[in-house]
């Protein structure tokens, strides 16, 4: 495939963000998550799926023509897909690049999976989870003190 054809497949953006190294097939879920964040309502987003990747074999990527990414979205992203790369694009070039890591703290973006946790019963109350073991991606609810895997926590997002 010539470089020209590649440009057609993945159009370059002048300014914005590229979320790269999304595991193949997971780009759709991420797009679905973005639709929950109202900041993206009028933003031009392009999803590319199943590109060749040296690291992953196949990968998805998203190009977002926005000036900023909301911090709540970045928290969701780090929790759901640690390992993806977020690149800031300025004048068609990569100006900044960050590999998302499982966060140490997840604040006010998730529901506690424990139905008896006070956070599920007190009006207007947020949640906080601390990472207690990075290897197993285990988090602890700051209130009910129960431990949850990242999978159990993000299951409450229903995406």
């Amino acid at each position: 495939m010539s470089p020209e054809e590649k440009v057609l497949l993945i159009p370059k953006i002048e300014n914005g963000f590229v979320i790269d190294h999304i595991p193949a097939g997971a780009g759709g879920r991420l797009l679905h998550l973005m639709q929950r964040h109202r900041e993206f309502d009028n933003v031009l987003i392009t999803l590319g799926q199943h590109y060749s990747s040296r690291r992953l074999g196949r990968k998805d990527l998203l190009k977002i023509q926005a000036n900023e990414l909301p911090s709540r979205f970045l928290q969701h992203l780090a929790l759901l897909m640690p390992g993806v790369t977020v690149k800031r694009i300025r004048d068609f070039k990569v100006a900044e690049k960050v590999v998302m890591e499982t966060p140490d703290l997840v604040h006010e973006i998730l529901r506690c999976p424990n139905p008896n946790c006070i956070t599920n019963h007190e009006r207007g109350m947020g949640t906080t989870f601390h990472l207690v073991e990075r290897e197993t991606k285990t988090f602890r609810c700051n209130h009910c003190e129960r431990h949850f895997t990242q999978t159990a926590l993000t299951a409450t997002l229903n995406i």
Binding site: C117, I118, E122, M125, C141, H143, E145
Partner: protein, 305 residues
């Protein structure tokens, strides 16, 4: 800065030792002096679910230090029954008193109360989560009985899966040196892996289903009730409810200094004929509980440093 007692997980070994030391000092204090430590102070005792013995213990502790108490022991007669939020209840009650003791059926409720209140908050049980004053009184009992906690061989018996008392005690004991645990339970009620993974590393623990082995080798046996209300499936409860019965005959193989503890109430797990043996320590444990709760109140309310 105000201080709270919400979870045993929040306490360092040093802090635990401070509470034990304070309890010892209060116990050694002349009654006339002790009776005025918290003169003029008012404790809010908010029990959103019934627990007679814990409530009585806190109220007795406060009254015997010269303080007074207000509160409720069930929510039917309060604004909570009308739908008031916990935060609003706490912000209202804190206008009346100097510290708050809370028991609540929801896990994390005491933490929330501490977050919204400017007063010291003491957790007297939040659902299946924490009951830190029980753990501190258990430690005080052990120290009283043996003169030390380090190096004891302790059996935990019964419902090790659901018992919050056991989980908290394991985490607190793990902070001490050389504790050997013998974990005695039916297969279906074993101590969960996440409880075994204490911050200090792996527990030095032997797991068994045989209570007799524990009786013969341990310094202390901590019995627990198998609680019907913790079982999602009533059939599972029926299978294991009478798994362990400690009676006088079984204690014949015990070391002379073996002590039996229990958070109470007991049902069938300790036979009444154990009560008269020198091994029975569960009623003195209630008395040590009163002293420890006095120490906690005096510490958080500033009656003693």
């Amino acid at each position: 800065m105000k201080r709270d007692l919400i979870s045993i997980e929040d306490l360092s070994l040093r802090k635990i030792l401070e509470f034990l030391d304070l309890a010892r000092r209060i116990e050694g204090m002349p009654l006339a002096e002790r009776a005025h430590l918290l003169d003029g102070r008012l404790l809010g005792v908010l029990f959103f679910e019934p627990s007679t013995r814990t409530r009585l213990s806190f109220e007795a502790a406060m009254l015997r230090l010269g303080g007074r108490t207000i509160g409720f022991s069930e929510v039917a007669s309060t604004s909570v029954a009308k739908g008031e939020s916990l935060s609003d209840t706490i912000r209202t009650v804190e206008q009346y008193c100097d510290a708050i003791v809370i028991r609540h059926p929801r896990e994390g409720a005491a933490r929330l109360a501490a977050e919204v209140s400017r007063l010291p908050v003491i957790n007297a049980g939040d659902g299946a989560n924490q009951h830190p004053t029980q753990t501190l009184l258990d430690l005080y009992t052990l120290q009283h009985l043996f003169g030390r906690i380090d190096g004891l061989r302790i059996a935990l018996v019964g419902d090790l899966k659901y018992s919050r008392t056991v989980h908290s005690l394991v985490h607190a004991l793990a902070k001490f040196s050389g504790i050997e645990f013998v974990l005695v339970s039916p297969e279906s009620l074993r101590l969960p892996e996440y409880v075994k993974a204490v911050p200090e590393g792996r527990l030095q623990a032997r797991e068994t289903t045989d209570l007799n082995e524990a009786i013969a080798t341990c310094d202390a046996i901590y019995m627990t009730r198998i609680q019907r209300e913790r079982f999602p499936d009533p059939l599972e409860y029926e299978k294991v409810k009478d798994s362990y019965l400690l009676d006088r005959a079984a204690l014949r193989r015990a070391k002379p200094h073996l002590k039996v503890l229990h958070p109470l109430p007991r049902v069938n797990e300790i036979a009444p004929d154990v009560d008269a043996t020198p091994h029975a320590a569960y009623f003195p444990q209630v008395g040590y509980g009163l002293i420890m709760r006095q120490a906690i109140l005096a510490s958080l309310l500033g009656g003693m440093s």
